[in-house]
Point group: C3
Chain length 215, copies 3
């Protein structure tokens, strides 16, 4: 417990942050669902339709992140540690950034086909985003902290699942793909999509920190 | 406004940081100009002359960064938040680091030719460094904050320009380059140069934070 | 000197952190030694035996890191700045993470042979880990700070050595390797192993910060 935490016992908490956090988590969840649609798209000529929507969602996320940072810098009392608010916001923003980066690589590299593991990756990412959304919605009330803890454990295990999936996909790629340029394209798409779940795990790490401090 | 900010109202501000910030920004601007010369160099045998100078500038930047951190750790009252000083310094250092990394890749990979977009990239980077230099020079006086805000908006739009340039360059590369090893070389040079403007945007984010807090 | 530092003069320091730091440094050193064994392994079929052990060491490191963070979040008075404890822990964890990432790339990419520079890299990494272990063991007593400073200088020069080694290895690779897929494999292994010494330098940067603040 630090100085900031002491003040929090003395002064009513500001609650304007929670509606913004929820908007960020909602927007992220929306992005993961559009990404799933992209991974199921049969016609490569339609990829850019989905990619364009994800880009817009990512830009909306940037604006929300900026709003939270502006609030943070002009607010004396915060519902929890300033740095934790900053890291929670940045880490959620990172998840969306890596989804968008994956899409941008698909757009620029134009691979002959997407990695066959990608829809499974999208499912893992959607589930992680749902758990983040659930946690953010329950963050306001101490009595829900046990549920958030469980959600964080689940996010961690999804990250391990994504990690295993990456290893399977990359091994298959290096075993089978003989065209070096196609190999480069798919390797980089797989490496970027793997960072999405890493970033989701970072969100769960911040959530765990917030819960421990408030306990 | 936080605890540190309260102290700042009570105690005269230390000003030894500003001359050091200015030196860092000057050194960075110098680095971007040498980088432009490299991108215009016709004879690949002369690349290393420019690359060597950039390496020296980068090492000078490391020493200045180290000086600021030493000052910071032994100073009780700082002109603005300790963490913001740390991030402002690190982020300016990162811009130069990525310029140097781009050069090191050119040196090690020895591509047959440099990407044709590189001089345009260099122009964007010089303009960003000029805006950073301008902002740092105006940071000492509150009445200039509106001008810094405008500079930050311009740095952001330069980052978008660099991003578009990267997409055009990388798309052309993947469309046209049939030699996979040349493709790898140019791809990594383009990816590194793009991080330079990302890092410049990080500088503008810290500048904006400092301005909001002091307002 | 900040608020936290003032409290530290008034209240006896908690010392439960030091045994945990030592365990982290020991575990890291252990990991570097197993990595050396991997680099000397003649039979590629045995690579995975060493890689599996390093993975276990990395997971043990994660648990220790988590323990320190939990302690940190529930402790009012810390032996030095909270953020420095956090960064010291994370940075040691990163060293091990990059060793593990290097191994995972070897496992997934199955290169025809490992880069010939790798045992030399392993020596540099072991020496860095020994210096970190030495520093952590001496961190409790002010009178050892001069020795830690010397260790940090040595870690920095080892980073420069690793950097030179990377440039030699990568230049040779791009000069000689004509198979683009083998080139990709070795390039990425070299890039990851280079990050290990960068991460060790980050550890030494935090150590230096801690020493300056306590002085």
């Amino acid at each position: 417990m630090n100085i900031n935490a002491i003040f929090q016992f003395l002064v009513p908490k500001e609650s304007k942050f929670f509606p913004l956090f929820i908007k960020v988590a909602e927007n992220l969840l929306e992005g993961t669902k559009v990404f799933k649609e992209l991974t199921l798209e049969k016609n490569p000529e339609n990829y850019n339709n989905h990619i364009k929507i994800i880009k817009e969602i990512e830009q909306k996320g940037d604006i929300l992140t900026h709003d939270i940072f502006t609030q943070l810098n002009s607010t004396f009392i915060t519902p929890f540690d300033r740095q934790d608010i900053q890291e929670l916001t940045s880490s959620m923003d990172n998840v969306l950034d890596y989804i968008n980066s994956t899409c941008q690589r698909i757009k620029v590299y134009k691979p002959k086909s997407l990695p066959i593991e990608l829809p499974k990756n999208a499912d893992i990412i959607i589930e992680s985003a749902e758990l983040i959304y659930f946690s953010i919605n329950n963050l306001k009330s101490y009595k829900n902290y046990e549920k958030i803890k469980d959600a964080c454990i689940k996010i961690n295990s999804l990250e391990n699942e994504a990690d295993d999936l990456y290893h399977i996909a990359a091994s298959a790629l290096f075993d089978n793909e003989k065209d070096p340029i196609e190999l480069i394209k798919i390797k980089e798409i797989l490496q970027t999509i793997e960072k999405v779940t890493d970033a989701a795990e970072d969100v769960s790490d911040v959530l765990k920190t917030i819960i421990i401090k408030q306990a």
